[in-house]
Symmetry: C2
Subunit: 551 residues, 2 copies
């Protein structure tokens, strides 16, 4: 793995010399210091006057592992307390605050790092025979409780837990430049994957916020949302074939550009969140790196008019790569606006042809709905840039803020704030009322739970001809020690609003354990029946990620 490569918009990573945080987002050296935490806290009335201390593994009571692997697997497995603590939870606010309060989730007994598919098979065989739960673990960036054991219906006794860390399987194994495809191991983090493709002039171009800290396998198992705001928004669309190890055998689909042979095998495993099998590698559709990029931002005083503008653009065939609408609060936080406007960030890119006409058409649509501004950077000229695109200033500011947000969330957590982020999707006819209801009802729930006024911000991350994906951030001062209960109240209110508006419980963060109540109500019963039958057939002992999606 090379020391550095270029991530989204020129971010560098992964630098293996930089220590990853066991309890919070990303790199330790990128965490806000105490002074920055205090400044963040000052933005939210009622927070602490000084930050909670950074938690230490040494302060956790980590017992000995409850199980021992056979000698043949010992070289793949560790019971090191630091490794076990770092694999106990994902990186949701709920996870971070539990670490801060010294009450992390169940610490796994073992952490295994398979070096290849046979290792995965061997580890799974052993665990399945021993009743050990296996939780596939990629970058560990889950924000929905996807990588944490919380018990399961079939095992009421204490069950040993193995965290299956896939990140040693991180190579680009083959590149087919004719078919623009690459065979990539599931444990590759975003930067390693892109570094493997770069020598061929190719890119997967999947840049979630977690790009540096999440893996291909994690993206596939959770149907992650990526770079594109329109058309091909999810990783699903870039899958050519999958290899998945299940207790009932390994499933390898053929490399096909498309097929109509029965229900798609890959689509059953995409979104299965490690409960049907362990994705070990995939052939992915990759692309030529874009040569033409341009971007612009448009301000709106009326958020409803901005929604109409975005809908018009989404229903055209302009297909912007970025079409992100920030409400006034989001825009102010990311410095995309300073005057209380909502801001629409638009970006176009292509490896084929200049894109300035498409931007001009989109800007015309935005202005027809009252948008102002929107002069492309450099007087309308284009960048033939490969990394940072010399974009519109609001776009650049927003991108920097975007990548910094999870670190700031952890800073707010240290100041005693409760922060919940959630995303959804709904058809356009429901979107305006949905956003209003979330602002009103989730804000009220946060106030009820804390006595403090909450900030509720919204942005649209992905848009479709038939609807949009709103992303919400709720922040409120908590009560020391009660943060998890308060978060649970806020989450329940959010889940309830989404359900009543028939908005999906998740657009691209997955279900995990935190979204089970909403997911169970949303999922059609016969599909639950089919999924349960598939689970029982492929994983009869419920070894794999028990409690996710089912059980």
């Amino acid at each position: 793995m090379p020391a550095t490569t270029t991530g989204p918009g020129g971010t560098t990573g992964p630098d293996t010399s930089r220590a990853r945080s066991w309890w919070g987002w990303g790199y330790v050296d990128a965490h806000p210091g105490d002074a920055e935490c205090a400044a963040l806290g000052a933005l939210l009335p009622g927070t602490l006057s000084r930050p909670l201390p950074v938690p230490r593994v040494a302060d956790l009571r980590i017992g000995p592992s409850g199980t021992t692997p056979p000698a043949s697997l010992a070289h793949l497995v560790s019971d090191d307390p630091g490794a076990r603590a770092a694999h106990a939870m994902g990186k949701a606010y709920r996870d971070v605050v539990r670490a801060l309060r010294g009450r992390p989730g169940r610490i796994p007994d073992l952490v295994a790092r398979p070096a290849g598919e046979q290792d995965v098979t061997d580890l799974l065989d052993w665990a399945d025979g021993q009743g050990v739960a296996v939780i596939p673990f990629g970058g560990g960036s889950s924000v929905v409780g996807g990588v944490e054991y919380r018990g399961d219906a079939r095992h009421t006794d204490r069950r040993a837990v193995l965290s299956l860390d896939m990140t040693s399987m991180d190579r680009v194994l083959e590149v087919d430049t004719v078919s623009r495809s690459a065979r990539i191991q599931a444990g590759a983090l975003g930067p390693a994957l892109e570094a493997g493709l770069r020598p061929y002039g190719l890119t997967l171009r999947h840049f979630p916020q977690s790009f540096e800290f999440s893996t291909l396998g994690g993206w596939l198992a959770t149907r992650a949302g990526g770079h594109y705001a329109t058309v091909r928004t999810h990783i699903d669309d870039f899958v050519q074939s999958l290899s998945v190890v299940t207790p009932a055998g390994t499933s390898t689909s053929w490399r096909l550009p498309a097929s109509g042979a029965g229900p798609s095998p890959d689509r059953l495993f995409l979104g299965s969140e490690g409960m049907l099998g362990v994705i070990t590698e995939a052939w992915m559709r990759v692309q030529e790196r874009p040569r033409y990029k341009t971007s612009a931002s448009v301000a709106f005083t009326d958020f409803g008019a901005a929604l109409d503008a975005v809908r018009t653009i989404a229903q055209s065939d302009l297909a912007p790569a970025n079409c992100r609408l920030l409400d006034a609060g989001e825009a102010a936080l990311s410095r995309a606006s300073t005057d209380g406007s909502a801001v629409l960030l638009l970006g176009f890119e292509s490896a084929t042809a200049p894109v300035d006409d498409r931007l001009a058409s989109a800007l015309e649509m935005a202005r027809a709905h009252g948008g102002t501004g929107g002069t492309p950077p450099n007087g309308g000229g284009e960048q033939a840039a490969d990394g940072a695109d010399g974009a519109d200033a609001a776009v650049s500011d927003w991108r920097s803020a975007f990548l910094r947000m999870p670190y700031l969330r952890d800073g707010l957590a240290r100041m005693g704030a409760v922060v919940e982020t959630f995303e959804t999707a709904a058809t356009w006819d429901r979107v305006p009322a949905l956003i209003d209801a979330v602002r009103t009802e989730v804000g009220a729930a946060a106030l009820r739970a804390t006595g403090h006024p909450a900030t509720v911000n919204c942005r649209l991350t992905h848009v479709y001809p038939d609807g949009a994906a709103p992303y919400f951030t709720v922040a409120v001062a908590g009560r020391p020690g009660d943060e998890v209960a308060i978060w649970d109240d806020i989450k329940a209110a959010a889940t309830d609003v989404l359900h009543r508006h028939r908005a999906t419980v998740t657009h691209h963060h997955a279900v995990g354990r935190d979204h089970r109540p909403g997911y169970d109500r949303q999922r059609p019963d016969p599909f639950a029946t089919a999924l349960r039958a598939a689970k029982d057939a492929l994983d009869p002992h419920h070894t794999l990620n028990p409690g996710v999606l089912l059980g």
Copy 2:
């Protein structure tokens, strides 16, 4: 249902005053007459000197129905021999020739025509309780044995069979113009569906060759390929939600533009070919009708260079709506060329903006690979047309020939020819060798089986950045009475070539019963395990379309 509306490129239909053929394609009055059949036969050495007679229902021995529905369902059910004969098979060559030879497949005992979802539930409940097999039937245009009972592993005794004809459920129930979506009953044939959308200026724009004679539910159950040559090629991409009646209850997914909540429920039912449930209605993503269209054709003397040209276009972001490469044989048959050239048909369309720049870019790419011609019609001008687009002459000729092809196939069948059409998809690295192997090996198999030289033609129907979907037509003079055995030999050879080249057994015609041998070898075993478990859970008595995909 209106008497006429506009189908693909201005075709009129359905005219309910026109009689549908019980044994052959489409309308009786469109069948080639004896003289045209003879002229077709003259193209293939060794065919009969005069056509086989048109078969008559009266000549079939159709026994009484082996089952009687309860009085409460009697109004939905018919045992009329004509109706039963017309529901005995689909419209594959294999079906047509069996009818011509007076040996049709199993005649169903009853034909039911539910008027609504509750009727479907009631009929299914009754059949499930009685051990009656239920075969969902849309337009009956299956070319893979998808609507015919051929026995099943669980029922070795003679089982009564009910054909569930969905075409009385043919309405557009709701249109949401804000979210560009429509709720449509599964039994709507293409023209009725488009007629229901037209008053809103909207279209589903799914125009398979069978458009007049196939239904939305059939398209969904078989993952049909549609209008677009690139990007959104299958009906799957236009599904917002599905309602599916299963013996274990009705599954109704939420209307969502996108979701990441577990494996997609809709994707399990898409392609399930009626073996998991009966699709009763769907919310579909519809579009503004295109305002801008243009098309052109390019000739190639070198088919390999033409493949490279198509690959270059498919890997750009030009996204042609039509990008159909005809080899020399296909081009000659459809009068798209007269000099032995291969021909690439290109079409662009948009409701947003003119498309002539996109066509010009694609033509430039084609010429860079040795393509000639390609002047857009009307001196490069655009049509703001809605129906027929005043297209390039080769494109128009090809479209007329395309819609006529299934009728001509039946004419050839009457002349004793054996005709097999099949489609597949493979990644670009495999496409040239695959096409060569099909020409050589399937042609040799046809010669071996008949002693006559076969014609093997190829076109690409849909293209992707990572691969293409070739469609093959094999025609050869048969031996009177042995046509089915000869077809089976040719099919086995085709299936074998596809398997060795890891090309899918079907890109958009579905698996049915004819593709089971190839499908069973292609499908990953753990997925088969999961699908079988889902089947057993949703349809424990294997009432629904037994023998399709499983069993």
